[in-house]
């Protein structure tokens, strides 16, 4: 017997079972008191010769004499959940109703995002900021997902999700400060434009690295679970991001650790110039959830109400059942990848136009709220004009504010600057003093 008697007796005393099942117990997962034992059914499986089962580490499986390969694809793609049709008409009545106040607020935020993107993109083209990336076409995902969460839920964005920040009260002026890297930027001018971050809003600073935020969200969920908070974490990433190793390991971890995290994939069809057909050969990202033991759903990403419903349900599951949930939101990246990209080089301009006009999530949601009597043309033009004014003003203000001081190159590398950094700071200041004409004027030394 390769099992020593002591180990056998140890397990025997821990789990009440009869000696016939001894081998199974040694294959069962060992857990300590602080977590729930999983798969109690493995202890009680019946070793019945007629059943054609065999036990391996991980549980019992049936065996069959036929060699059956699982197909690489299903005959049908996973269907997509939607609430409103392209015309903004509800398809059924089984969705969570959104109040007028919330709906109008959602719509205004979607419009804000749309106009903000247009104006900042123009500002980059005019050379006023160095870089920008728009969220055009994905306003519903951005705003509706945020609307379904609470302020305590922590957000780990990729870089195409400023919507949740807007929803939570980050102002257009603060957006402008970040894009202009002036001294009022939360990030103190250290990151590129659109790399927002605000601990007050529970929105973690954007890092340019792709998909590194996905395991961060799992770690945060683990932290929330340890503190038993009524909150979850949510992380966003694109179809391209789902190819990164971090995505796979994070989903795996979250399932194993039973962490309350929502993985929201914005499958917008393009990773810069790489279409999804070159990104993966699976049926999108939603099918990958089951591979890791993660509950998943595919949603129409341009349907604000569908996103709202799905995220709300996912949040409930994540927190009360302590499980991760994967949501794949199908959508289209109407804008270029960023201001450094011209997507007409790799996709037809008429395809872009079609998505921009015929499948605009903002217009679709507007039809729904107008039909409910909550919105009209006048409100629309007032909102758009007011936003334009606000944005142009914010940009003008941000543009004229001083850049952060030299010290901010060296602060926050550590909690307290060490002597070598203080020395390096002094060298920079001395150099600027010696050659003032070689340095910009709006640096405060």
């Amino acid at each position: 017997m390769w099992i020593s008697k002591t180990i056998f007796n140890h397990f025997k005393s821990r789990l009440n079972f009869t000696p016939n099942y001894a081998p199974l117990s040694l294959l069962s997962p060992r857990r300590f008191a602080s977590t729930i034992a999983q798969n109690p059914s493995t202890f009680n499986s019946i070793h019945d010769a007629n059943q054609q089962v065999i036990d391996f580490p991980g549980g019992t499986v049936k065996f069959i004499p036929e060699m059956r390969f699982i197909s690489e694809s299903s005959p049908q793609r996973i269907p997509c959940y939607r609430v409103l049709d392209d015309d903004g008409q509800p398809l059924a009545n089984n969705f969570v109703q959104v109040s007028e106040e919330v709906a109008v607020r959602m719509y205004s935020n979607m419009v804000t995002l749309q106009i903000m993107d247009t104006i900042f993109y123009e500002a980059q083209r005019q050379g006023r900021i160095s870089f920008y990336a728009t969220t055009i076409g994905e306003e519903a995902i951005n705003i509706a997902s945020a609307a379904a969460l609470t302020r305590d839920d922590v957000i780990f964005p990729q870089y195409r999700e400023p919507g949740p920040l807007l929803w939570r009260g980050f102002t257009l002026q603060e957006i402008a400060h970040q894009c202009f890297s002036n001294k009022y930027d939360n990030g103190k001018g250290r990151q590129m434009p659109i790399h927002y971050g605000s601990n007050k809003h529970n929105y973690f600073t954007v890092a340019s690295t792709v998909a590194t935020q996905v395991p961060h969200a799992v770690g945060a969920a683990y932290s929330l679970k340890m503190d038993k908070k009524d909150a979850c974490s949510i992380t966003y990433f694109g179809d391209g991001g789902s190819s990164e190793g971090d995505f796979h390991a994070a989903l795996n971890f979250a399932a194993v650790m039973e962490a309350p995290v929502i993985f929201l994939c914005r499958n917008n069809g393009w990773a810069i110039s790489t279409p999804t057909s070159d990104q993966f050969r699976s049926d999108g990202v939603v099918v990958k959830g089951q591979a890791y033991g993660v509950r998943s759903i595919r949603v129409d990403g341009n349907d604000a109400l569908a996103i709202y419903n799905a995220v709300q349900a996912a949040r409930e599951m994540a927190i009360s059942e302590e499980r991760p949930v994967l949501i794949e939101a199908l959508t289209y990246r109407v804008g270029h990848h960023s201001t450094s990209d011209d997507s007409t080089k790799y996709r037809p301009a008429n395809e872009i136009e079609w998505w921009r006009l015929a499948r605009d999530p903002v217009a679709r949601f507007r039809k729904w709220i107008e039909r409910n009597g909550w919105w009209n043309d006048m409100a629309e033009s007032e909102l758009r004009n007011s936003l334009r004014q606000q944005l142009l003003h914010s940009i003008q203000v941000a543009e004229n504010i001083e850049k952060p001081p030299i010290e901010d190159i060296f602060n926050d590398v550590y909690d307290v600057p060490p002597s070598n950094l203080r020395e390096q700071e002094q060298w920079v200041k001395d150099t600027i003093k010696k050659h003032p004409l070689d340095y910009p004027e709006n640096i405060s030394a």
């Binding site: 395991p215 390991a249 307290v416």
Partner: protein, 408 residues
């Protein structure tokens, strides 16, 4: 070399602004964890001096009688000690430090492969999962980049994770998270999110572990801004540095060595925390400054025995703090001896020795009577065959020869 050090008032060589003012008082004898001179045991100076460092000119150095192997406490130092301390192995010292910090602060948690049930592949976390539950001592699947990322996310949300790499070499997979996120997010977020994580694990050349398991990661990581790096070498400094690393608000990488885990020594019963930025004076001397860290400390001390017999008086400093260097201690030594020998396990190109050579040359060039000599491993992957492996690591005989040549 670990001799018993008494509680000494001290200052750090790092920065006068107080790095340690956030922690509440530890529960045991040593008093509050702050930088004031009048406090009781806090940061412990590596030399046996009673006065603050800056007044050292008025004191004569006391010669420590040391061996390359850990011994019992020297009686001249131990005279003021009322407690003899307790003996343990280095991995137990690490565990003790870890356990004390986990008891003290419920936010401290551990994550890594096989750290929970199994107790860690080098037993550093043995018994902790049973004591604290397996949510606080978390077994992770095999994905270093991702569980390091998880640790970063947890740290940003308020926990203080200790991320264990089963072997430091595996952390190469975590380089993206360590460099781009761990080292950077505090800075790029404008100071909004902090990452008080500790990344630790065994590295260095072991006994025929093969090239992939004999990496010296300190040379790869030393450039990353935003992280601190320390290397422990004795049970005493292992425990002290572990505790200091956990309490630090910055991400700290703690380098342990595969071959030092079973080193036995006596450490104080009282609580103590060492400074992350200080070097340790192992053996004061007059003729030459030998700078080393981790396992090479023992090769140096072995060579020192031979050198003493030959009439040389080497000063041996275990630099301990790999990033930033304790240029204060090092500089003082250079000004005294005027000759520097660096003994490291890193490869020649781009290792800690290379950076240290540059730093000393830049800062203390006028105090040098001879060019700095750096003994390091060759730029080769570590071979498996025992004899070959031995020759890729600096041996005491080479150290003796180098000192003789340097002191001509």
């Amino acid at each position: 070399m670990a001799t018993l050090f008494q509680g000494l008032p001290s200052s750090t060589a790092f920065s006068s602004s107080n790095k340690f003012n956030h922690a509440p008082a530890p529960t045991s004898f040593s008093g509050t964890w702050n930088n004031e001179r009048k406090s009781s045991i806090v940061t412990v100076r590596s030399d046996a001096r009673w006065s603050p460092v800056l007044n050292s000119a008025t004191h004569k150095p006391q010669r420590l009688i040391t061996n390359a192997v850990a011994t019992k406490a020297d009686s001249s130092l131990a005279s003021t000690s009322s407690k003899p301390g307790h003996e343990l192995l280095l991995f137990e010292a690490l565990r003790e430090g870890l356990e004390e910090e986990m008891e003290r602060d419920p936010c401290v948690c551990v994550m890594g492969e096989d750290v929970g049930h199994y107790g860690g592949s080098y037993k550093v976390t043995k018994g902790l999962a049973t004591k604290f539950g397996d949510l606080r001592v978390l077994d992770t699947p095999i994905a270093e980049n991702s569980f390091t990322g998880m640790g970063i996310g947890a740290a940003m949300t308020g926990l203080r994770p200790i991320i264990e790499g089963m072997n430091m070499g595996f952390l190469l997979l975590a380089f993206n998270q360590i460099s781009n996120n761990c080292g950077m997010l505090h800075y790029t977020s404008g100071g909004q999110f902090k990452i008080p994580a500790v990344i630790r694990g065994p590295g260095g050349v072991g006994r025929q572990l093969g090239a992939e398991h004999s990496q010296r990661l300190e040379s790869y990581f030393q450039s990353i801004p935003g992280i601190q790096m320390v290397a422990c070498s004795t049970p005493y400094n292992a425990k002290g540095l572990m505790k200091a690393a956990i309490r630090s608000e910055n991400p700290v990488i703690l380098f342990e060595h595969v071959l030092l885990y079973n080193l036995k020594d006596r450490i104080p019963d009282e609580e103590y925390v060492l400074s992350l930025e200080e070097a340790e004076m192992v053996r004061p001397g007059e003729h030459v400054t030998i700078l080393t860290y981790s396992r090479m400390r023992y090769h140096v001390m072995q060579a020192a025995k031979t050198l003493v017999n030959k009439g040389y008086d080497p000063e041996v400093i275990d630099i301990r703090s790999l990033k930033p260097f304790d240029l204060h201690t090092i500089g003082k030594s250079v000004k005294k001896t005027h000759r520097v020998l660096i003994v490291e396990e890193c490869m020649r190109t781009g290792g800690i020795g290379a950076s240290l050579t540059a730093a000393i040359t830049e800062n203390f060039n006028d105090d040098l009577d001879a060019p700095i000599v750096c003994l390091s491993s060759q730029d080769v992957p570590t071979p498996y065959a025992g004899t070959l492996e031995e020759w890729t690591v600096v041996q005491p005989a080479q150290i003796v020869t180098a000192v003789e040549q340097l002191c001509q």
